[in-house]
Assembly symmetry: C2
Homo-oligomer: 251 residues x 2
């Protein structure tokens, strides 16, 4: 019985962004647990059991993984991006805290991955190159008023911002409200970046002033970045501009 549980980040989509550490954990696993499209990224092997599950069953998925690890299996929970950023690691520890006491003694490791906002930032330059914040725009698990409050305070702090889960079919109105709040609070042409399917062959990047951003530019496969008041655009003839936030702010 040499079971254990690893929560591993697969990065945003391109397999060349999977770390060797994560690759080794996948190679040694007996069981892979995760949301269907993430488990689909794992090549089948005779000695490996895949356990894909649907969205919004994170706690059930975590418990199942903990039970298998308790039985001596080497389980890897796969997450997109980094498991610690709006992904499975929090759900796993929530299950541990409220679950069987012996789960706390399991060998549990979180292996970091490239999270979507950093891949999106790299794809267009360095818009998150100064102080920034990351906000999950889904109000499935928190009140909308808290999101609204954080947006206004983030503008006041002049953070660059990254927005995860901006818009889904079941809640199309949230991102529209968020955009209105941001457009109302920022009286400048700071750039907004819509990065869809970032690092995948069908990646698309859209860079435009916040004032011209529209709700239907985002979906659940999009991570959205917003510059601070200091963020710069470097135009290039015939190519997409570079976007970066300088390291310095004048005193």
């Amino acid at each position: 019985m040499t079971g254990g549980l690893v929560i591993a980040g697969l990065g945003p989509g391109n397999d060349a962004l999977i770390t060797p550490e994560v690759r080794a954990a996948l190679d040694q696993a007996t069981d892979i647990v995760g949301y269907i499209p993430y488990v689909e990224r794992i090549a089948p092997r005779p000695d490996l059991t895949l356990h894909p599950s649907d969205n919004r069953v994170e706690i059930d998925r975590a418990r199942h993984a903990l039970e298998m690890a308790s039985d001596g299996r080497r389980v890897v929970i796969v997450s997109s991006g980094d498991p610690g950023v709006f992904a499975m690691a929090s759900a796993l520890f929530e299950a541990v805290e409220h679950g069987a006491p012996h789960w706390r003694d399991l060998d549990i490791a979180v292996l970091p991955g490239i999270t979507a906002m950093l891949a999106a930032s790299a794809a267009c330059g360095a818009p998150l190159g100064h102080d920034f914040c990351a906000i999950n725009l889904s109000d499935n698990l928190k009140p909308w008023a808290l999101i609204e409050k954080r947006l206004r305070l983030a503008v006041e702090a002049d953070f660059a911002m990254a927005f995860y889960n901006p818009r889904s079919k079941s809640r199309p109105e949230g991102f529209e409200k968020a955009l209105r709040t941001l457009q109302d609070a920022c009286n400048d042409a700071r750039p907004m970046i819509f990065a869809r399917n970032v690092t995948r062959p069908d990646q698309s990047l859209r860079i435009l002033p916040l004032s011209e951003a529209a709700p239907d530019m985002a979906d659940m496969r999009t991570v959205v970045l917003l510059g601070s008041s200091q963020t710069r655009i470097i135009p290039r003839g015939g190519a997409a501009p570079f976007v970066y936030t300088p390291r310095s702010v004048e005193g």
Copy 2:
């Protein structure tokens, strides 16, 4: 002449966290540019020229890299962590914006890496599992008043927080002031995490209530995390506790 410039993230220290994408860029490079300890991580090869340089010469380093790429060299600027998070990517684009017009036409790519805060978060659980911000505590390039303002607003927004460059020999008093501000603004026992040399063999993790944190617990090899008001500790007999921030906030 097939020159180009790549700004690559080497991750926080453990080579098993270098992505295959970055590894391929290093293998194809003719020249490696970067801060001395990062260039030291690259194995010498007969066909590779290493250009280590000292700290605080980021713009000179960027210009040198751009000149070599213009001359047809395949140049990789190496950064610790992720190049877009308080690292070389912003400096590079600053040099591009204010430099020779033809630099804008160069083939320039940023390759993301595992940034220290996400490695530190993974090492202790998932303290950044809900909305969070990242703040560089160095006031070399911005006024201290702005840092102070951001700390207070981040507490008001109830973000978890990650602090880079918390304390150096040349400015030992900054982190002391930051701690006082945070202790003054947070009336609870939320956990603070000092992660030093994260992912390296001599990694150390210190987890304690913010009220017990002291300035000399941090140095320039430390990334510091602070939970939000919601962050939880899961005690474990004989092992370090898990720390995580739940996905949900009650309405």
